[in-house]
């Protein structure tokens, strides 16, 4: 049966555009502008879903995304909010939480065994015996959760934009519209956001039977559209409040991060259901839902119904229902004093029976609870929340509209750090302390009459203007007049329960009473035990009622109970909106492509991707590394070191700067020579090491290990600012490539390409020279990190690949081989070099790694010197020593971090260990107690499986280089 009304003033649907879709296998037709729910309701469909826990049939509750009775899936997306999602052509929809369809759900029996399943039952019922828990877990997991995740979901990139304004106004109801116009008139740039398809808030549906307010709405909206200062985001919700007024505004196609100078929250209120037996039957709905249905979508909520109310709003709803052709059998007012105003008088004139001081005791279900056939109305005692059943009156009807009160939509205000106090005149939490730049207006601010809301918007806008430094006149708003819009305790006890507080999670009044009995009588504990407000609608229709129940149980005023934390997001936001582009910034050297083609196995080192070794088919990782190492030891190898941090330090104070920054001396360093540098922090802890090459009197070239490069450069900048020396720092890490040629044949290969003499005699350790390779200017530094004979060749990054290839070609006859970082680690270990960050940790001082030679304590200052003076007075606790295992060691291979054990106690640990093909035995570095550190001393290493490896302290290098 069609429930579609004739055309309504201001309706949101286009009746000339039909849309066909299916729901639960049946075909229906709606109009463009319909939501999924409104199209179904118009087609006479009442049962839209099944409840989460008891699988009870559910219809419309709020028609505003304040509940999740109507969750549907189209096969790809799940948990689509049917109440607010626009109908589109060809949708094929099913309710999510059913086992065999929304009408014949096979899980509906759960409702009849609900007394066996009180809140918290599974915490207690299934933890013993533990062996059975995996079985129960499967059962519970199947029952829990809503909808089915589609694992073939396509990757959808949603846009992310930024926007900026003077004032962001959230909620375009009367107060929001008024605030926007006032702010725009004060020359402020305004962004106005509303989650509905059209602006207007309650002006779009709360009419009390006449359409006068439509004209006001049209005028307001026309002014807003005409204002060049106002930018409107409709069908967009403010998802959360973040520091310094950043608010992500979510639309169907993505997120806009809005940064405002001030924010006005005019988000209004959520209508709260009065709680009585079977208040969840299809046909029972909030008064505002019935109004939305009529005025937005031209749908008749029911044919004959009653209104249960506890405020003035219920009477307005009754007038709207009558105007839409619904027969209103009665208005049931839960308040003993009732309501006296023109709406009441008009209803009486229209012959509507008004029961003052009565409640709906229960709604009578039809077969299968798929709808309702009547309401039992009884006298109501407000102080005890009990109904006088002896005087029950049964009213035949197919629907109930409920209006008992409101809860502020204050999530964003809470997130901004607002203070709220309870106002007894309106029985509502209202803001009483605002963080800077946050303002509230309208019903969320406790202002209810339409006129006052318009004024409150102007008031908030004038406060924003003066906050932003404009001279504007103050606006005042009169305090609330008349009856309270919310009832302090709109509950009706019933021996059979099923009087629902939270429709998401099927939570009844008795669940709260039980939770309190169990000791969960604090609002945060009660929330977690009962799960109230933890469903997908996050307490929008339930938290306020939960607070009222707990206040009653504990016999405390509501404000003493407090509220739970309101976290982002305001509505569930699809992952696709949040997900990034999987963009991970990383750096590649200009030789990367060659490495890849050569079969390199890459590892991440800081932001860089580096070859660990070059995979050879048929060889294990270990064998490959050993082969690469042998090539270097026997002839020559090359490694791409372009990732190394490179910094130019220039200026008259360059040497002085280095002498303060590093532990060594550089003032007397000759141009064209390089020296070792060791960096400590202020605690005297080893941070990094590298090479300083003096290129000119006032110019040094520094290398920093790859993973420390960014941090060390930052520290250089910081100390330079403190010392105020005449020095310039240039980070040339990306500007220069570096190739290291190493091995006994290195000079032979290199000399084929350069005109300078790079022989052992002419180019000793520490030499540096500028020359050319194939016409490209290069800088060559003699270093000895991986082999006794090794040359570091620096060139402009763009030429690194051609020089790499030239070196490979020149070294072909010598069997030149590229090697990776894993091999480099083995090579330096064979020479006995420790690596900061690998063989040292966040506490290692230079004495422990025997780096005394690098410390120039005679200097007036260097970073860490004062701390070293203190450390030097104390006995050493550990020392890094080189060790070998016996040549014929056959036990388990010790690993990095295996412990050094003496008499059952821990004395140290292994930091590096490997089989050395050059030394033909297992070699390593380990921290040991000082008394164990003498040459030839034997100590124990405990392996992973608990075996003991005997290690002997030796001299380095581990082999005869």
């Amino acid at each position: 049966m069609s429930m579609r009304l004739p055309k309504q003033v201001g309706e949101w649907i286009s009746r000339d555009k039909q849309i066909r879709f299916t729901f639960e296998g049946k075909e229906y037709t709606g109009y463009e502008g319909d939501t999924i729910t409104s199209a179904l309701l118009a087609s006479g469909v009442k049962v839209l879903g099944r409840s989460f826990k008891y699988h009870r049939p559910r219809g419309v509750l709020s028609l505003a995304n304040h509940d999740i009775n109507a969750l549907v899936t189209d096969g790809q997306d799940t948990n689509i909010r049917a109440d607010v999602v626009k109908l589109t052509k060809g949708m094929t929809l099913k309710a999510v939480n059913t086992d065999g369809g929304v009408i014949n759900d096979k899980s509906k029996y759960i409702d009849s065994i609900s007394p066996l399943l009180p809140v918290g039952f599974y915490y207690k019922a299934f933890h013993k015996p533990a062996a059975l828990f995996p079985f129960w877990e499967k059962v519970i997991r199947k029952a829990a959760g809503l909808g089915v995740v589609n694992f073939n979901y396509p990757r959808i990139n949603k846009r992310k934009l930024n926007d900026f304004c003077d004032v962001l106004i959230i909620g375009a109801g009367p107060s929001g519209l008024s605030a926007a116009l006032s702010a725009a008139a004060n020359d402020l740039e305004v962004i106005l956001v509303d989650e509905n398809q059209h602006l207007g808030g309650s002006l779009t549906y709360d009419r009390a039977g006449n359409a006068d307010t439509q004209q006001m709405l049209d005028e307001l909206v026309a002014k807003v559209s005409a204002s060049p200062n106002i930018k409107v985001y409709a069908a967009a919700y403010a998802a959360g409040y973040y520091q310094d007024h950043m608010v992500p505004v979510v639309t169907a196609d993505g997120i806009t991060k809005v940064r405002a100078k001030a924010v006005i929250v005019s988000t209004g209120v959520f209508e709260q259901p009065p709680v009585f037996h079977n208040n969840d039957l299809p046909g029972v709905m909030l008064g505002s839902a019935a109004q939305r249905m009529i005025h937005r979508y031209g749908v008749k909520p029911f044919n004959k119904g009653i209104v249960v109310t506890a405020n003035a709003h219920g009477y307005r709803v009754a007038l709207d229902l009558i105007n839409a052709g619904v027969k209103v059998a009665a208005v049931v007012d839960m308040r003993a004093q009732g309501q006296k105003d023109e709406q009441v008088a008009e209803l009486v004139r229209k012959g509507v029976k008004i029961y003052t001081g009565f409640c709906v005791y229960e709604a009578t279900p039809v077969k299968g609870k798929l709808g309702m056939s009547g309401a039992v109305v009884c006298p109501y005692d407000e102080s005890t929340a009990n109904a006088d059943v002896a005087k029950a009156v049964t009213i035949e009807c197919d629907g109930i509209a409920m209006s008992a009160g409101w809860a502020p939509a204050a999530a964003l205000l809470y997130q901004s750090g607002i203070g709220m106090g309870y106002n007894n005149d309106i029985q509502q939490f209202v803001p009483n302390r605002f963080p800077k730049g946050i303002f509230a207006a309208g019903r969320v601010n406790g202002v209810y009459s339409l006129e006052a809301r318009l004024t409150d918007g102007a008031r908030a806008a004038s406060e924003v203007a003066s906050f932003l430094g404009k001279k504007v006149a103050a606006v005042s708003v009169e305090s609330h007049q008349g009856t309270s819009p919310s009832h302090p305790y709109p509950f009706v006890h019933h021996p059979k329960g099923k009087n629902f507080v939270d429709f998401d999670e099927d939570i009844q009044i008795k669940d709260f009473i039980n939770a309190a009995k169990e000791g969960f009588d604090n609002i945060e504990l009660m929330k977690r035990f009962t799960t109230v407000g933890m469903g997908p609608s996050q307490g929008k229709h339930s938290n306020m009622n939960a607070i009222r129940i707990l206040a009653k149980i504990r016999n405390l005023p509501v404000e003493k109970i407090g509220t739970t934390t309101a976290r982002p997001f305001f509505h569930p936001t699809p992952m696709g909106h949040l997900g990034g582009r999987s963009f991970h910034s990383h750096r590649l050297t200009s030789i990367h492509g060659w490495h890849k083609a050569a079969g390199a196995f890459f590892v991440d080192v800081g932001a860089w991707s580096r070859p660990a070794y070059y995979q050879k088919s048929g060889l294990s990782k270990l064998e490959t590394i050993q082969q690469e190492a042998q090539a270097v030891r026997q002839s020559v190898g090359i490694i791409d070191g372009g990732t190394l941090g490179k910094i130019e330090v220039c200026g008259p104070d360059a040497a002085a700067f280095l002498e303060r920054f590093y532990t060594g001396v550089y003032a007397d360093q000759k141009v064209g020579h390089s020296r070792y540098v060791l960096l400590l922090d202020e605690l005297g802890v080893v941070v990094d090491d590298g090479i300083a090459t003096r290129l000119a009197d006032e110019m040094f070239f520094l290398t920093i290990s790859t993973s420390n490069a960014a941090a060390v450069y930052r520290e250089m900048q910081r100390w330079l600012q403190i010392w105020q020396l005449n020095v310039g720092l240039v980070n040339v890490t990306g500007a220069y490539g570096l190739i290291n040629v190493a091995g006994p044949n290195a000079s032979k290969v290199l000399s084929k390409l350069v005109s300078v003499d790079v022989s052992e005699a002419a180019f000793p350790m520490g030499s540096a020279q500028t020359t050319e390779i194939k016409g490209v200017p290069v800088r060559i530094v003699r270093a000895a990190f991986v082999a006794k004979q090794a040359y570091e060749i620096y060139m402009p990054t763009g030429h690194a690949l051609s020089i790499w290839k030239a070196l490979l070609e020149a070294g072909q006859s010598e069997g030149i081989r590229p090697f990776g970082t894993d091999t480099q680690r083995l090579l330096r270990l064979e020479l006995g070099h420790h690596m900061p960050g690998y063989d040292t940790d966040g506490l290692t001082n230079p004495f422990e790694v025997r780096a005394e030679k690098a410390l120039h304590m005679e200097k007036p200052f260097f970073i860490g010197k004062r701390s070293l003076e203190i450390i030097a007075k104390k006995p050493l606790t550990k020392v890094l020593v080189p060790f070998t295992l016996a040549v014929d060691y056959k036990g388990e291979m010790p690993q990095d971090c295996n412990l050094v054990i003496e008499a059952g106690g821990i004395k140290g640990r292994v930091t590096s260990i490997s089989y050395s093909p050059a030394a033909k035995r297992i070699v390593g570095l380990a921290y040991v107690a000082p008394h164990q550190s003498e040459l030839g001393n034997v100590f124990d290493i405990r392996t992973d499986n608990g075996g003991i490896a005997k290690a002997t302290v030796v001299k380095t290098p581990f082999f005869n280089a």
Binding site: Y242, Q243, E682, R714, Q721, R866, E869, I870
Partner: protein, 101 residues
């Protein structure tokens, strides 16, 4: 996301900045006692309140000092090292707050 006012580049989102730890005045290494020095390098009271902190604006490589109330997370002033707006009165919440916004 929070905003921070870099003295060289103006107000920028926090994602462009790195925290560099609490700023402490270095005692004279030549005259300070071991205890004074150890306290300088090791001791942080971690008590909430207005702290001087090192912050680094990554894209431009600018270190600066921020005076921040760690309780309210309000930044009261930002300036380059040694360029405090008024060396005798380092915290002037009201006046500086407006500037940093």
């Amino acid at each position: 996301m929070k905003l921070l006012n870099c003295p060289m580049n103006g107000t920028r989102p926090l994602s462009e900045f790195l925290f560099g730890g609490e700023f402490r005045e270095m005692p004279n290494p030549d005259t300070s006692s071991d205890l004074e020095w150890a306290s300088y390098v090791h001791y942080r009271d971690n008590a909430p309140g207005v702290k001087k902190e090192w912050w680094y604006h990554s894209p431009s490589g600018t270190w600066f000092i921020a005076e921040r109330n760690t309780l309210s997370d309000e930044v009261l002033a930002t300036y380059l090292y040694g360029k405090a707006p008024d060396a005798t009165k380092t915290t002037k919440p009201r006046a500086k707050k407006e500037q940093s916004e």
